[in-house]
Amino acid sequence: MLDKRVTIDDIVAEIRDGMTVGIGGWGSRRKPMALVRALARSSVKDLRLVSYGGPDVGILCRAGKVREVVYAFVSLDSIPLEPHFRNARQSGAVTTMELDEGMFLLGLQAAAWRVPFLPTRVGLGSDVMRLNPGLRTVRSPYPNPGEVGGEDLVAMPALNLDVALIHMHRGDQGGTGQYLNVDPYFDDLMCMAARRRFMSVERIVDTADFAKVGPVQSIRINRLMTDGVVETPHGAHFTECVPDYPRDEVFQRAYTASAKSEEAWDEFRAKYVDVTEAEYQAAVGQ
């Protein structure tokens, strides 16, 4: 087994201007925030983000790293609308690809399976088609029973990622990952849709320890899916990472308040973004 341990800086160094970056988790849940913060203080720009979005999208938009957001929602869950993403959208600072949550899944799945698109009924009749003029429909070659022709379906294009960033509860040094909460989200698909795949984990453990803390199904990320792993304890903070820790609602409210003015953001940024990971964890009381 290879030793795939890397540092946060190694991962950020792989990300270049203009790349398409997929970020795992869902809303304000199990986001690779240590990696996101490092990206926010890097010199990278013009990223295209693909995310079931939460504060990952908000922080990177606010830090000026983003050209386009491919999204179905950007939410903090307990605070439904992500304040920094809202500001970025309403000022026209970022463009978007507006997708249904399920089309998003199909785009990642198509990329993972190396096919150019997957057909779906989803999107028909909605403004997903108007807002994405490049989206095409395909005619099924197979007639439905009792019908003459085949039906028209949306051809959801593959969402090919340059880099995927995910956060798991446990990992080993070979790049296998285990989640211990109730939902794997789409982290495995994010990895399979990407050229380079990086995983932060709460704790690096011996491979033999996975089966001691969860069922085999929890070992969702196998090492075919990853290129690097880094241990970042408390690294999903302030998003939810149960059972290790809940969402930090107090901090999330402070984060939300930082969208109210330039001064508020500058203060937040100085204290919580433009600092090392160790300084951040000390600042939030770890």
Binding site: G92, E98, D100, E101, G102, T120, R121, G123, D127, V182
Partner: protein, 257 residues
């Protein structure tokens, strides 16, 4: 009872929402929002125990769990992570009740954004699952504050597909599209008209037809005398007050007039 007295407006809404899900059979009843969850669980607790419901996240639960209570006891009967939810939706075994920032007479719904796509005046939730929900399964809507800001002549963005759009798609592509009811703090609406225009189905006790018309930014179909929404039964009040919503969150969402 933890709360006494005559049924409140919120409890009338909960009963109306329960009636939306009651005839569905063995499907996933998936109400989103405070009173939708209360009403959905009320249907399962009373007349429709066959409904399959979640804990609001990734578990299917068979018992009636309270809202707004930390770590309620759950009788877990299934695992339904987000990825599995798409299997349910796309196979046609769900009835969702969603919110709407805007809705028009055909039931086109918007909660994505208001204004231009390049720089919206107001960025809202995004498309979420609305396009997929509406093209695959029955969809109902819950509007806690019925106003002309929500009930508009034309929505800025179509996230949930309405009946005019479905008709334009043709019978094949739209064969799974169906809108159920629109329940609001004032009334119940449906699409039971020849061309599926929105119709006033009932007004809640204490609300007049004129109240609803004044709060709606387009012409509603109104045939004859509009009935009054039913009151919840004593059994339903027990379920709402003692079991499903012990902290009265529904009363916060729709205050009693």
């Amino acid at each position: 009872m933890t709360r006494d007295g005559a049924p409140t407006r919120a409890e009338v809404c909960a009963a109306a929402i329960a009636d939306c899900f009651a005839p569905d059979g063995e499907i996933l009843a998936n109400p989103i929002g405070t009173l939708p969850v209360i009403g959905g669980r009320l249907a399962k607790a009373t007349v429709a125990p066959e409904l399959v419901m979640t804990d609001g996240e990734a578990l299917l639960v068979e018992n009636i769990i309270p809202i707004g209570v930390d770590a309620p006891e759950k009788v877990i009967a299934g695992w339904n992570p987000y990825r599995t939810m798409f299997d349910v939706v796309w196979s046609g075994r769900r009835h969702v009740m969603m919110g709407a920032s805007q809705i028009d007479k055909w039931g086109n719904q918007n909660f994505a954004f208001i204004g231009s796509p390049e720089a919206p005046r107001t960025q809202l939730l995004g498309m979420r699952g609305a396009p997929g929900n509406t093209i695959n399964d029955t969809t109902s809507y819950w509007i806690p504050a019925h106003t002309t800001r929500v009930f508009v002549p034309a929505v800025d963005v179509v996230s949930g597909v309405g009946y005019d759009r479905a008709r334009d798609l043709g019978p094949e592509a739209s064969r799974f599209h169906r809108l159920g009811h629109v329940v609001t703090n004032l009334c119940v609406l449906d699409f039971a008209t020849p061309d599926h225009r929105m119709r006033l189905r009932s007004v809640h006790p204490g609300v007049t037809v004129d109240d609803v018309v004044a709060a709606t930014g387009f012409e509603l179909a109104i045939d004859g005398d509009v009935p009054t929404s039913r009151l919840p039964s004593d059994d339903e009040l027990h379920w709402i007050r003692d079991v499903i919503d012990p902290n009265g969150l529904g009363e916060e969402e729709v205050p009693n007039p």
